[in-house]
Amino acid sequence: MGEGRPPLVVLVADANPKRGFALSETLRSDSSLRVLTVPAEMALIDAVKLHAPDVVLVDMARADRDALDSIRALSQSAQERPIALFVDEDDAALMETAFDTGICSYNVVETPPRDVKPLLRAAIALYSRFRRTREELSEAQRILAERKLIDQAKRFFMKNEKANEAQAHRWLQRRAMQTSRRIAAVAEEYLASQKKDDLS
């Protein structure tokens, strides 16, 4: 982004406020950009009309993205600045990665073209990082939930069979091997059978 040019106005529209904040902060480190976000409760199209950005970075999970498709078709009568999905014909892989990551970019059609690829790349990197963190978090939550199930099943087994923890663990382990299932699945089934017995 060259010197002496007016700042490029970038609107960040993310359904995830944490990620939207992180992306905005990343982009703000570039002084040639003026970064704005879509306030909660405001429709994307209203934010575009209000801020008249040059570039819009949109989280593809937003249902109101459909409205952006209409700006171009309706712009003649409404005298609004037409915008269009940014497409890099020479770099289909970049576009596919962007769609894969869940982000896309719109350009104002009448604005002289400036390279927006660095913005899109920054957004892709951040979205990927958030996705990895989310996956790691959900994996950690899954392990924790399984651990709770197994511990609970062990407690029931120890009480019912007057066994110690090692015996309870061995029983779950053996049953998992016999039925080719995970210990957590066996624990869940055992707990369900206990609940059923309690009800009957």
Binding site: M60, D64, R65, D66, L68, D69, L85, V87, E89
Partner: protein
């Protein structure tokens, strides 16, 4: 490991045949491994088809056509397989209906519009679900029928159907044209009244079609089996005795593989339901009369060149064929 065929749908009752074909194992019985992708927006469906994120989708003709013409910035080899549904769109308005019926063509409708607009007190804001939608074409024809000019007499906005109900109650919009079951749901909640829709503007117009994209469009064997599975699912969804199964499947949460649709309104809009704008599930190739009016209306809105109109007319085939042949665009 085989990669499943990714089929895009939106949270609409006319996505039912795709959901049922997946859940009831009809795709699997025909040797197709499928994954249902519930998309938050039509733009995601169109971009998914154009950018290899979806192999197929249940979609309306205008957006499928614009996508096939490369309007998403990328050539997309789209192939129409079969029609899925006919009708089902509701034109609804907030406030009080000045007449006791739907609005009829000519001065009856125009007078009702004028009285209603006085009550609204502004140039009415009417929403559609996407600019390139059947809904917009139906709305435009309806307004024309009652001598109202879409370009000047109303303000057109685009909004997801689920948001329309909230926007009507908040008076952010004054009406809309939506797909099933959202029109019936708005009526049920008392936030809008129906003035027209598919049944009064263009009865049994083709609404959702199944299109394939990319590699899947070139696989004759998969095209044939997918069409057969869909035909079976469409017959299933059209059969009254399976209605409860369809309602339960559509009302189930997204996590359970459903579409989280409101059950009561869904019951009303399924075939032979109580809603005036009930859906008909019908399979078969697109016929000339199915798409001619769509292409003409799209052209009159300035969306299509002459040559593009000719190209798109090739999406229809003679009634003898079960599915349309590939049309490279």
């Amino acid at each position: 490991m085989k990669t499943p065929i990714r089929i895009g749908v939106l949270q609409l009752a006319d996505s039912a045949p795709v959901i049922m074909a997946h859940q009831q194992g009809l795709f699997a019985r025909h040797g197709l491994e499928t994954e249902i992708v519930v998309s938050p927006s039509w733009a995601n469906i169109a971009d998914g088809l154009a950018w290899k994120k979806l192999d197929a989708a249940a979609i309306f003709c205008p957006l499928a056509m614009m996508t096939a013409l490369g309007r998403r910035g990328h050539d997309a080899f789209l192939r129409p397989l079969t029609t899925i549904s006919r009708g089902g769109n509701t034109i609804m308005l907030r406030g009080v209906n000045p007449v006791e019926t739907i609005w009829h063509a000519g001065s009856h409708g125009r007078r009702a519009f004028d009285v209603w607009r006085c009550g609204i007190g502004r140039r009415p804001r009417i929403a559609v679900v996407h600019i390139y939608s059947t809904h917009l074409l139906i709305l435009r024809r309806f307004l024309k029928m009652i001598d109202v000019d879409m370009e000047n007499d109303i303000e057109l906005v685009v909004m997801p159907p689920v948001d329309m109900i909230h926007a009507l109650s908040e008076k952010k919009i004054d009406g809309g044209c939506v797909g099933p079951p959202w029109g019936a749901e708005a009526e049920r909640l008392g936030v809008a009244f129906r003035v027209g829709g598919s049944s009064s503007v263009f009865p049994d117009h083709v609404e959702k079609i199944m299109v394939t994209s990319g590699k899947l469009s070139r696989s004759e064997e998969q095209i044939e089996t997918m069409t057969l599975a869909l035909q079976e699912a469409i017959t299933f969804c059209q059969t009254p005795q399976y209605r409860q199964d369809v309602i339960e499947a559509l009302a189930a949460s997204l996590a359970e593989g459903g579409l989280a649709l409101p059950a009561e309104a869904t019951r009303a809009v399924l075939p032979e339901g109580s809603a005036e704008e009930a859906i008909n599930f019908m399979s078969g190739a697109l016929q000339e009369h199915d798409i001619e009016w769509i292409i003409n209306d799209m052209a009159s809105l300035g969306w299509l060149e002459n040559s593009e109109q000719q190209t798109l007319m090739r999406w229809s085939v003679s009634g003898a064929m079960t599915s349309a042949p590939p049309v490279p665009l």
